[in-house]
Protein backbone atom coordinates (compact mmCIF):
# COMPACT_ATOMS: atom_id res chain seq x y z
CA UNK A 1 0.00 0.00 0.00
CA UNK A 2 2.65 2.50 1.06
CA UNK A 3 4.81 1.57 -1.91
CA UNK A 4 1.87 2.01 -4.28
CA UNK A 5 0.98 5.40 -2.81
CA UNK A 6 4.62 6.49 -2.96
CA UNK A 7 4.82 5.54 -6.64
CA UNK A 8 1.54 7.29 -7.48
CA UNK A 9 2.65 10.41 -5.62
CA UNK A 10 5.92 10.69 -7.53
CA UNK A 11 4.37 9.77 -10.89
CA UNK A 12 1.53 12.27 -10.53
CA UNK A 13 4.10 14.90 -9.53
CA UNK A 14 6.15 14.26 -12.67
CA UNK A 15 3.04 14.40 -14.87
CA UNK A 16 1.91 17.62 -13.22
CA UNK A 17 5.15 19.63 -13.35
CA UNK A 18 4.58 20.81 -16.94
CA UNK A 19 0.86 21.35 -16.18
CA UNK A 20 1.77 23.66 -13.31
CA UNK A 21 4.14 25.62 -15.54
CA UNK A 22 1.42 26.08 -18.14
CA UNK A 23 -1.12 27.00 -15.47
CA UNK A 24 1.20 29.62 -13.98
CA UNK A 25 1.88 31.04 -17.44
CA UNK A 26 -1.84 31.25 -18.15
CA UNK A 27 -2.45 32.98 -14.81
CA UNK A 28 0.30 35.51 -15.42
CA UNK A 29 -1.09 36.15 -18.89
CA UNK A 30 -4.72 36.37 -17.88
CA UNK A 31 -4.62 38.62 -14.83
CA UNK A 32 -3.64 41.68 -16.82
CA UNK A 33 -6.52 44.09 -16.68
CA UNK A 34 -8.54 42.01 -14.26
CA UNK A 35 -10.50 38.81 -14.74
CA UNK A 36 -13.97 38.53 -16.19
CA UNK A 37 -16.05 35.46 -16.82
CA UNK A 38 -16.37 36.40 -20.48
CA UNK A 39 -12.59 36.53 -20.90
CA UNK A 40 -11.99 33.25 -19.10
CA UNK A 41 -14.78 31.38 -20.80
CA UNK A 42 -14.00 32.93 -24.16
CA UNK A 43 -10.63 31.17 -23.99
CA UNK A 44 -11.83 27.89 -22.65
CA UNK A 45 -15.33 27.08 -23.84
CA UNK A 46 -15.59 24.31 -26.35
CA UNK A 47 -11.81 24.18 -26.65
CA UNK A 48 -10.73 20.53 -26.76
CA UNK A 49 -7.15 21.40 -25.74
CA UNK A 50 -8.23 23.14 -22.57
CA UNK A 51 -10.70 20.42 -21.73
CA UNK A 52 -8.08 17.68 -22.16
CA UNK A 53 -5.40 19.68 -20.39
CA UNK A 54 -7.47 20.52 -17.35
CA UNK A 55 -9.07 17.06 -17.14
CA UNK A 56 -5.61 15.49 -16.92
CA UNK A 57 -4.57 18.19 -14.47
CA UNK A 58 -7.60 17.51 -12.25
CA UNK A 59 -6.98 13.75 -12.28
CA UNK A 60 -3.31 14.20 -11.35
CA UNK A 61 -4.26 16.62 -8.61
CA UNK A 62 -6.91 14.22 -7.35
CA UNK A 63 -4.19 11.62 -6.89
CA UNK A 64 -1.32 13.81 -5.68
CA UNK A 65 -3.04 16.02 -3.11
CA UNK A 66 -4.81 13.34 -1.03
CA UNK A 67 -1.64 11.25 -0.75
CA UNK A 68 0.23 14.28 0.52
CA UNK A 69 -2.57 15.13 2.94
CA UNK A 70 -2.50 11.55 4.22
CA UNK A 71 1.10 11.97 5.34
CA UNK A 72 0.15 15.15 7.18
CA UNK A 73 -2.78 13.43 8.88
CA UNK A 74 -0.58 10.54 10.02
CA UNK A 75 2.47 12.56 11.11
CA UNK A 76 0.97 15.78 12.40
CA UNK A 77 -2.64 14.78 13.01
CA UNK A 78 -1.58 11.53 14.70
CA UNK A 79 -4.29 9.61 12.84
CA UNK A 80 -4.08 5.85 12.43
CA UNK A 81 -2.87 4.90 8.97
CA UNK A 82 -6.13 3.20 8.06
CA UNK A 83 -8.27 6.15 9.18
CA UNK A 84 -6.07 8.59 7.30
CA UNK A 85 -6.38 6.42 4.18
CA UNK A 86 -10.19 6.46 4.33
CA UNK A 87 -10.39 10.21 4.91
CA UNK A 88 -8.03 10.89 2.04
CA UNK A 89 -9.79 8.57 -0.36
CA UNK A 90 -12.99 10.49 0.35
CA UNK A 91 -11.12 13.75 -0.18
CA UNK A 92 -9.83 12.36 -3.49
CA UNK A 93 -13.37 11.61 -4.65
CA UNK A 94 -14.50 15.11 -3.64
CA UNK A 95 -11.61 16.71 -5.52
CA UNK A 96 -12.18 14.61 -8.62
CA UNK A 97 -15.91 15.29 -8.64
CA UNK A 98 -15.61 19.03 -8.02
CA UNK A 99 -12.64 19.33 -10.36
CA UNK A 100 -14.20 17.55 -13.30
CA UNK A 101 -17.39 19.53 -12.72
CA UNK A 102 -15.31 22.69 -12.92
CA UNK A 103 -13.71 21.46 -16.16
CA UNK A 104 -17.16 20.82 -17.61
CA UNK A 105 -18.35 24.20 -16.39
CA UNK A 106 -15.49 26.10 -17.92
CA UNK A 107 -15.00 23.94 -20.99
CA UNK A 108 -18.53 23.14 -22.03
CA UNK A 109 -20.83 25.47 -23.91
CA UNK A 110 -23.46 26.52 -21.41
CA UNK A 111 -24.32 30.05 -22.36
Amino acid sequence: MEQRLFALQRLSAMVMAPFVLVHLAVILYAIRGGLTAAEVLGRTQGNPWWITFYSLFVISVGIHVPIGMRNILIEWGRFERRTATVICMLFALVLLAMGLRAVMAVGGRWS
Binding site: E2, Q3, R4, F6, A7, R10, N71, I74, E75, W76
Partner: protein, 244 residues
Protein backbone atom coordinates in the same frame (compact mmCIF):
# COMPACT_ATOMS: atom_id res chain seq x y z
CA UNK B 1 44.75 40.58 42.77
CA UNK B 2 41.01 41.29 42.55
CA UNK B 3 41.00 40.38 38.85
CA UNK B 4 42.81 37.11 39.46
CA UNK B 5 40.22 36.02 41.99
CA UNK B 6 37.41 36.94 39.60
CA UNK B 7 38.82 34.95 36.69
CA UNK B 8 39.46 31.98 38.94
CA UNK B 9 35.85 32.12 40.04
CA UNK B 10 34.35 32.24 36.55
CA UNK B 11 31.90 29.42 36.31
CA UNK B 12 29.92 27.54 33.72
CA UNK B 13 26.25 26.99 34.45
CA UNK B 14 25.12 23.50 33.57
CA UNK B 15 21.43 22.68 33.38
CA UNK B 16 20.78 18.97 33.19
CA UNK B 17 17.43 17.38 32.40
CA UNK B 18 16.98 14.73 35.04
CA UNK B 19 13.36 13.93 34.17
CA UNK B 20 10.40 13.18 36.38
CA UNK B 21 8.36 16.17 37.45
CA UNK B 22 7.93 19.81 36.48
CA UNK B 23 11.24 21.08 37.80
CA UNK B 24 13.18 18.37 36.12
CA UNK B 25 16.16 20.55 35.24
CA UNK B 26 18.89 20.52 37.85
CA UNK B 27 21.39 23.36 37.76
CA UNK B 28 25.05 22.93 38.58
CA UNK B 29 28.04 25.21 38.55
CA UNK B 30 31.46 24.04 37.45
CA UNK B 31 34.66 26.05 36.98
CA UNK B 32 35.08 27.67 33.59
CA UNK B 33 38.05 26.21 31.75
CA UNK B 34 39.23 27.31 28.35
CA UNK B 35 39.62 23.76 27.14
CA UNK B 36 36.92 21.34 28.18
CA UNK B 37 34.36 19.15 26.51
CA UNK B 38 30.75 18.67 27.54
CA UNK B 39 31.64 15.15 28.64
CA UNK B 40 34.33 16.59 30.91
CA UNK B 41 31.65 18.79 32.46
CA UNK B 42 29.14 15.96 32.94
CA UNK B 43 31.89 13.85 34.50
CA UNK B 44 32.86 16.67 36.85
CA UNK B 45 29.24 17.15 37.92
CA UNK B 46 28.86 13.46 38.66
CA UNK B 47 32.15 13.12 40.50
CA UNK B 48 32.08 16.27 42.57
CA UNK B 49 28.48 17.50 42.79
CA UNK B 50 25.93 14.78 42.10
CA UNK B 51 27.07 11.17 42.44
CA UNK B 52 23.63 9.88 41.44
CA UNK B 53 23.78 11.45 37.98
CA UNK B 54 23.52 8.72 35.35
CA UNK B 55 25.17 9.06 31.95
CA UNK B 56 26.92 6.91 29.34
CA UNK B 57 30.42 7.14 27.98
CA UNK B 58 33.19 4.76 26.93
CA UNK B 59 36.15 5.78 24.82
CA UNK B 60 36.10 9.54 25.60
CA UNK B 61 37.92 10.17 22.32
CA UNK B 62 35.21 10.28 19.67
CA UNK B 63 35.21 6.79 18.23
CA UNK B 64 32.53 4.83 20.06
CA UNK B 65 29.44 7.05 20.02
CA UNK B 66 28.34 6.12 23.55
CA UNK B 67 28.32 9.65 24.93
CA UNK B 68 25.68 11.03 22.59
CA UNK B 69 23.33 13.51 24.28
CA UNK B 70 21.34 16.60 23.39
CA UNK B 71 23.41 19.73 24.03
CA UNK B 72 21.68 23.13 23.70
CA UNK B 73 19.05 21.49 21.54
CA UNK B 74 21.30 19.52 19.20
CA UNK B 75 22.20 15.83 19.39
CA UNK B 76 25.96 15.37 19.51
CA UNK B 77 28.86 13.37 20.94
CA UNK B 78 29.66 15.15 24.17
CA UNK B 79 33.30 14.04 24.17
CA UNK B 80 33.76 15.83 20.87
CA UNK B 81 31.88 18.95 21.81
CA UNK B 82 33.97 21.76 23.17
CA UNK B 83 32.08 23.79 25.73
CA UNK B 84 33.46 26.99 24.25
CA UNK B 85 31.81 26.14 20.91
CA UNK B 86 28.32 25.61 22.30
CA UNK B 87 27.92 27.58 25.50
CA UNK B 88 25.42 30.42 25.33
CA UNK B 89 26.04 33.23 27.81
CA UNK B 90 27.90 30.88 30.08
CA UNK B 91 25.14 28.25 30.09
CA UNK B 92 24.88 24.80 28.59
CA UNK B 93 21.72 22.71 28.69
CA UNK B 94 22.16 18.94 28.55
CA UNK B 95 19.30 16.55 27.85
CA UNK B 96 19.09 12.90 26.91
CA UNK B 97 18.82 11.91 23.25
CA UNK B 98 15.37 12.44 21.76
CA UNK B 99 13.09 9.71 20.42
CA UNK B 100 14.29 7.11 22.89
CA UNK B 101 12.68 6.45 26.26
CA UNK B 102 14.67 7.66 29.23
CA UNK B 103 16.02 5.13 31.72
CA UNK B 104 17.50 7.68 34.09
CA UNK B 105 18.88 11.19 33.73
CA UNK B 106 20.93 11.23 30.52
CA UNK B 107 20.71 7.51 29.80
CA UNK B 108 18.19 6.30 27.21
CA UNK B 109 16.85 2.92 26.20
CA UNK B 110 18.12 2.07 22.73
CA UNK B 111 16.22 -1.22 22.37
CA UNK B 112 13.75 0.07 19.81
CA UNK B 113 16.58 1.65 17.83
CA UNK B 114 18.23 -1.76 17.52
CA UNK B 115 14.96 -3.58 16.89
CA UNK B 116 14.35 -1.34 13.92
CA UNK B 117 17.93 -2.00 12.79
CA UNK B 118 17.06 -5.68 12.58
CA UNK B 119 13.64 -5.03 11.04
CA UNK B 120 15.21 -3.18 8.13
CA UNK B 121 16.78 -6.51 7.22
CA UNK B 122 20.34 -5.79 8.21
CA UNK B 123 21.63 -9.29 8.79
CA UNK B 124 24.25 -10.21 6.24
CA UNK B 125 23.78 -13.63 4.67
CA UNK B 126 26.56 -14.89 2.44
CA UNK B 127 26.59 -17.77 0.01
CA UNK B 128 30.24 -18.76 0.22
CA UNK B 129 31.55 -21.41 2.58
CA UNK B 130 34.83 -21.60 4.47
CA UNK B 131 36.24 -23.67 1.65
CA UNK B 132 35.69 -20.96 -0.93
CA UNK B 133 38.26 -18.25 -1.56
CA UNK B 134 37.43 -14.79 -0.17
CA UNK B 135 35.12 -12.77 -2.37
CA UNK B 136 36.97 -10.60 -4.83
CA UNK B 137 35.18 -7.31 -4.31
CA UNK B 138 36.68 -4.38 -6.17
CA UNK B 139 36.71 -1.27 -3.97
CA UNK B 140 36.34 0.78 -7.15
CA UNK B 141 33.10 -0.83 -8.25
CA UNK B 142 30.19 1.60 -8.08
CA UNK B 143 28.27 -0.63 -5.68
CA UNK B 144 31.18 -0.95 -3.30
CA UNK B 145 31.80 2.80 -3.39
CA UNK B 146 28.18 3.37 -2.40
CA UNK B 147 28.41 0.85 0.41
CA UNK B 148 31.74 2.22 1.63
CA UNK B 149 30.36 5.75 1.75
CA UNK B 150 27.76 4.63 4.28
CA UNK B 151 29.51 1.81 6.11
CA UNK B 152 31.17 3.74 8.95
CA UNK B 153 28.02 3.97 11.08
CA UNK B 154 28.60 2.94 14.69
CA UNK B 155 24.98 3.11 15.83
CA UNK B 156 25.37 6.11 18.08
CA UNK B 157 21.73 7.12 17.60
CA UNK B 158 22.36 10.82 16.88
CA UNK B 159 20.62 10.65 13.48
CA UNK B 160 17.68 8.80 15.02
CA UNK B 161 17.41 11.45 17.71
CA UNK B 162 17.51 14.27 15.17
CA UNK B 163 14.82 12.82 12.91
CA UNK B 164 11.36 14.38 13.14
CA UNK B 165 9.72 11.55 11.21
CA UNK B 166 10.93 9.17 13.92
CA UNK B 167 9.22 11.30 16.54
CA UNK B 168 6.03 11.68 14.49
CA UNK B 169 5.71 8.08 13.25
CA UNK B 170 6.39 5.31 15.75
CA UNK B 171 6.72 2.68 13.02
CA UNK B 172 9.33 4.56 10.99
CA UNK B 173 12.52 2.51 10.76
CA UNK B 174 14.72 5.56 11.01
CA UNK B 175 17.86 6.86 9.30
CA UNK B 176 20.46 4.54 10.85
CA UNK B 177 18.62 1.31 10.09
CA UNK B 178 17.90 2.40 6.53
CA UNK B 179 21.43 3.66 5.96
CA UNK B 180 22.63 0.23 6.98
CA UNK B 181 20.13 -1.45 4.67
CA UNK B 182 21.62 0.57 1.81
CA UNK B 183 25.10 -0.79 2.54
CA UNK B 184 23.73 -4.31 2.50
CA UNK B 185 21.79 -3.68 -0.70
CA UNK B 186 25.05 -2.67 -2.34
CA UNK B 187 26.98 -5.63 -0.94
CA UNK B 188 27.53 -7.99 -3.85
CA UNK B 189 28.19 -10.87 -1.47
CA UNK B 190 24.76 -10.62 0.14
CA UNK B 191 22.49 -13.45 -0.92
CA UNK B 192 19.18 -11.61 -1.48
CA UNK B 193 19.41 -7.90 -2.15
CA UNK B 194 15.79 -7.73 -3.34
CA UNK B 195 14.78 -8.87 0.10
CA UNK B 196 16.69 -5.92 1.57
CA UNK B 197 14.47 -3.60 -0.44
CA UNK B 198 11.36 -5.41 0.69
CA UNK B 199 12.38 -5.10 4.32
CA UNK B 200 13.46 -1.48 3.90
CA UNK B 201 10.03 -0.61 2.56
CA UNK B 202 8.06 -2.73 5.01
CA UNK B 203 5.83 -0.97 7.50
CA UNK B 204 6.98 2.61 7.58
CA UNK B 205 10.19 2.31 5.67
CA UNK B 206 12.36 4.38 3.39
CA UNK B 207 9.33 5.89 1.62
CA UNK B 208 8.35 7.68 4.82
CA UNK B 209 11.51 9.79 4.74
CA UNK B 210 10.83 13.38 3.72
CA UNK B 211 14.48 14.30 3.11
CA UNK B 212 14.49 16.77 5.98
CA UNK B 213 18.18 16.07 6.18
CA UNK B 214 18.58 16.46 9.94
CA UNK B 215 20.32 13.09 10.05
CA UNK B 216 22.89 14.17 7.50
CA UNK B 217 23.29 17.50 9.28
CA UNK B 218 24.05 15.99 12.68
CA UNK B 219 25.91 12.75 11.93
CA UNK B 220 29.22 12.97 13.82
CA UNK B 221 31.03 10.96 11.13
CA UNK B 222 29.52 12.92 8.24
CA UNK B 223 27.45 10.09 6.86
CA UNK B 224 24.38 10.76 4.80
CA UNK B 225 21.36 8.63 5.59
CA UNK B 226 19.44 11.14 3.44
CA UNK B 227 21.50 10.00 0.46
CA UNK B 228 21.30 6.32 1.36
CA UNK B 229 17.56 6.49 1.78
CA UNK B 230 17.20 8.31 -1.54
CA UNK B 231 19.06 5.41 -3.11
CA UNK B 232 16.78 2.90 -1.44
CA UNK B 233 13.70 4.82 -2.60
CA UNK B 234 14.83 4.75 -6.19
CA UNK B 235 15.80 1.09 -6.17
CA UNK B 236 12.55 0.14 -4.43
CA UNK B 237 10.53 2.18 -6.91
CA UNK B 238 12.24 0.47 -9.84
CA UNK B 239 11.65 -2.94 -8.30
CA UNK B 240 8.00 -2.07 -7.68
CA UNK B 241 7.43 -0.83 -11.24
CA UNK B 242 9.00 -3.99 -12.61
CA UNK B 243 6.55 -6.01 -10.55
CA UNK B 244 9.00 -7.16 -7.89
Amino acid sequence: MEMNRQSLQRTLTVRIDRGAGPNNYATYSVPWRENQTVLDVVTEVQRTLEPALAYRFACRVGVCGSCAMTVNGKPRWTCRTHVSQVQEDGVIVIEPLRNMPRIKDLVVDMSEFFQKWKKAGNTFVGTATRNDPPANVSPQSSKRKKADAAIECINCGVCYASCDVVSWDKEYLGPAALNRAWTLFNDERHVDTKDVLRKATSGSGCNSCHSQGSCMKHCPVSLSPTGSIAGLKKSALMLFLKGG
